[in-house]
């Protein structure tokens, strides 16, 4: 069982066998810490959650909402005075000018060569693997973290070994 599966199970229980979950937790301090956090959050939520409204209160509220939505909205007509009319016309012309300038600027800019650009950040002590599939593009981004008994430094050292070796190529 993997740590991400365990964490998902702890956050939204129901998918995994309890005995194997307990077995994993007893052997994985990271998931155990996560489990403690989840328990703490549940306790806080249970202590502070608001009371559920009664079904009659819900029905009354729903009926009021429906009535409000079905009523036509009638706005009072107020005639604008002369200077207000000119002001509105001026604002309209200014808005049109701004839209026109923005449009021209947008058209004159060079089209980017790449339609969509991602942004990935590699955390200290992890190796990031972005998986691509031919038709769907990015299908997952996986952070390879230190395994049990390893530290972040071990991961960095492993990466550095690969980097150093590849740098020493080509290997003809």
């Amino acid at each position: 069982m993997r740590c991400d599966e365990v964490m998902r199970e702890l956050s939204a229980p129901g998918g995994l066998d309890e005995s194997s979950l307990a077995e994993h937790l007893s052997a994985c301090p990271r998931c155990m810490a996560w489990s403690a956090q989840v328990d703490k959050l549940n306790r806080v939520w249970n202590a502070t959650r608001p009371e559920e409204p009664s079904s009659s209160a819900f029905d009354t509220m729903w009926a009021k909402t429906e009535a409000m939505v079905s009523e036509p909205e009638i706005l009072p007509f107020v005639s604008a005075s002369g200077w207000k009319r000119w002001g509105l016309a001026l604002v309209t012309v200014a808005q049109a000018a701004v839209i026109l300038i923005a449009g021209m600027y947008g058209l004159s800019r060079p089209t980017p060569a790449i339609a969509s650009m991602h942004d990935y950040r590699v955390e200290e002590g992890t190796t990031l693997v972005v998986r691509l599939d031919g038709s769907r593009g990015v299908i997952s981004a996986i952070e390879v973290r230190p395994q049990r008994g390893e530290s972040d430094t071990d991961m960095v050292a492993a990466d550095l070994d690969v980097l150093n070796y590849m740098e020493s190529g080509p290997f003809e």
Binding site: L163, E167, G169, F171
Partner: protein
């Protein structure tokens, strides 16, 4: 036995000046080059086949690291390129067998978070298949794992130091 004739004083002075100029001309560009911030950037491609166990002799030295990152695969080195880059310069790596070209441009030698920034792109037949900004601590790797039509994978590694 004949002794070499010592050069005349004006000629000797000119020789010293010429030598001085020559040495200055040789060392200054080297010093200037070292002062420009840059990174040694490495791009490499590995063909990985799921279910296999064979490892290319060229990758034997880093087999444990590769098996840790991609367990249950066989590995074959496709290509490796390494270049010292300054900001705005790039390195490309043509993955001969697959037709893919991977490229990395150095964007920032060290950003505010202590990361090196690259623009990474993967192309096939002149079309950009994938492009991303990669921010990684120095000496740490970013991998792009491209699934190929036959189910095997092209692993492209990128790192800078």
């Amino acid at each position: 036995m004949s002794r070499p004739i010592p050069p005349q004083p004006p000629f000797r002075r000119a020789l010293v000046v010429a030598l001085g100029l020559l040495l200055t001309g040789m060392t200054l560009p080297a010093l200037a080059w070292q002062a420009v911030p840059g990174r040694q950037v490495t791009l490499f491609g590995i063909h990985a086949v799921p279910g296999g166990n064979a490892v290319d002799p060229k990758l034997k030295k880093i087999e444990p690291q590769l098996k840790k990152l991609f367990p249950g695969h066989s590995f074959k080195l496709v290509k490796t390129e390494s270049k010292r880059l300054t900001v705005g310069r790039s390195v490309t790596c043509t993955m001969d067998t697959t037709g893919f070209i991977a490229g990395a441009e150095l964007i920032n030698v060290l950003d505010g978070d202590g990361n090196v920034q690259f623009k990474f792109a993967l192309e096939l037949n002149g079309q950009t298949e994938f492009a991303t900004l990669v921010r990684t601590p120095p000496n740490q790797l970013f991998f792009c794992d491209k699934m190929l039509p036959d189910g095997s994978r092209l692993l492209i590694g990128l790192g800078g130091r």
